[in-house]
């Protein structure tokens, strides 16, 4: 058995290996061309986003940024974190705190790759630790992410500046190729493992979300394998939802303990109903209209058969660690 503290350091043993400029340019070009038949997410709709034929997610080829700010609300190790919210999403979570803005693919100014590459470096120079790409769903903008990374690499090739500390804050419902194309680009993967069952995913994130659990778990394993190779880091978050401890939280914890025991799982018990879940006449949202009950928070953090024992800290993301001497 591997002790959590030892295993946690595995990905940190290797210095992050950034992709070179040629690789970045080549990937960026290929991914942009591939938008003519988009297969970035597991829906694999094959819509021609280059022709502005709107995909089911509503996205064409442009990237818009609907919100940006320096945050101190993320996990402490990532702070300060510059949050860059890309517009457009392939999920329609009933409780989304960024909705409806994040669902509008043209919300906010259009992303200017050159300007962003310079701005992000300036922020890193000012002490920002992570460039937090979220949304919406940032992986739907893979072409833009690669173009930013390539442009940054080109702009600063003559000075010894490290690759941008890019953090992909994602629902992880992408195709595995997306993760492959982010090798050497994403220094951190912050994955939302939202649902413990396909039925809950369909009911809450949208009827079009199929095979949620197998897709997300496949991608988590895939990303973790990459992290072990490249020195990137994977953290998984799970937002505890009212009425979903047994069907979502427990299976998520069990899967993580069984399959990725070395990876940190942050249980977040700060759920607040937003968007459709916050409407007083909301239908079809079950118990998502309310806050978590105290007993649900306790149940979510309760020790499981997999020996995971929570470290309970009020008010922030919860870090779950195995008990000493276990696992």
């Amino acid at each position: 058995m591997i002790a959590h503290s030892t295993a946690k350091s595995v990905s940190g043993l290797h210095k992050f290996v950034a992709a070179d400029l040629h690789t970045l340019r080549s990937r960026a070009r290929r991914v942009r061309e591939s938008l003519s038949s988009c297969r970035l997410c597991e829906r694999m709709c094959n819509v021609d986003r280059l022709a502005d034929a709107p995909a089911p997610c509503g996205l064409g080829a442009e990237t818009h940024v609907f919100k940006r700010h320096i945050s101190f609300a993320e996990e402490a190790e990532f702070l300060p974190s510059y949050m860059l919210y890309f517009a457009g999403c392939n999920f329609r979570c009933a409780f989304c705190v960024q909705a409806p803005n994040c669902f509008d693919p043209s919300r906010g100014p259009r992303a200017d790759v050159q300007a962003l590459a310079r701005e992000l470096q300036e922020l890193v120079d000012r002490g920002v630790k992570t460039i937090n790409l979220l949304g919406g769903e940032p992986s739907l903008h893979l072409h833009t992410i690669l173009e930013i990374a390539a442009t940054h690499s080109e702009l600063y090739k003559d000075v010894r500046i490290q690759a941008l500390p890019i953090l992909l804050n994602s629902n992880f419902y992408m195709t595995p190729q997306v993760i492959d194309d982010l090798e050497g680009v994403a220094k951190y993967y912050l994955a939302d493992f939202k649902f413990g069952s396909d039925a809950c995913a369909k009911g809450i994130a949208g009827g079009h979300i199929t095979q949620y659990v197998s897709v997300v778990t496949r991608n988590l394993s895939h990303a973790w394998a990459q992290c072990q190779r490249t020195g990137a880091r994977l953290l998984v978050r799970h937002l505890v939802m009212p009425g979903h401890v047994d069907c979502c939280t427990k299976p998520v914890r069990a899967w993580m303990a069984e399959n990725l025991p070395e990876v940190e799982l942050h249980l977040m018990d700060s759920y607040v109903p937003a968007y459709r879940a916050a409407r007083t006449n909301a239908k079809g949202v079950g118990e998502l209209h309310r806050l978590l009950a105290a007993k649900e928070i306790l149940a979510a953090h309760a020790p499981t058969e997999s020996s995971y024992v929570p470290v309970t800290v009020q008010g922030g993301p919860q870090r779950v660690k195995p008990a000493r001497g276990e696992r």
């Binding site: 320096i70 101190f72 800290v313």
Partner: protein, 76 residues
């Protein structure tokens, strides 16, 4: 130590509306539940002290204040 960090954060003027450290306005949603739980959605640097005043013993929040103080010491 805690006092020093707070002083460092307070040394800049508090904005009339919440802003991040680039001066961008940001809407911060604060929800107070019936049982007394307080939820912040988005915590820019100016709001950290507000949150800490509410939850002075919160270890996670203390880490955020510490990160903010370190950041301010670089940027000022």
């Amino acid at each position: 130590m805690k006092q020093d960090m707070c002083s460092q954060l307070k040394s800049t003027s508090i904005a009339r509306v919440p802003q991040d450290d680039l001066g961008r306005e940001l809407t911060v949603v604060i929800r107070i539940a019936a049982d007394g739980r307080v939820y912040f959605h988005d915590i820019p640097i100016d709001m950290l002290l507000v949150a800490q005043a509410i939850a002075p013993n919160d270890a996670q929040l203390a880490l955020r204040v510490q990160a903010a103080a370190a950041y301010r010491s670089i940027t000022q």
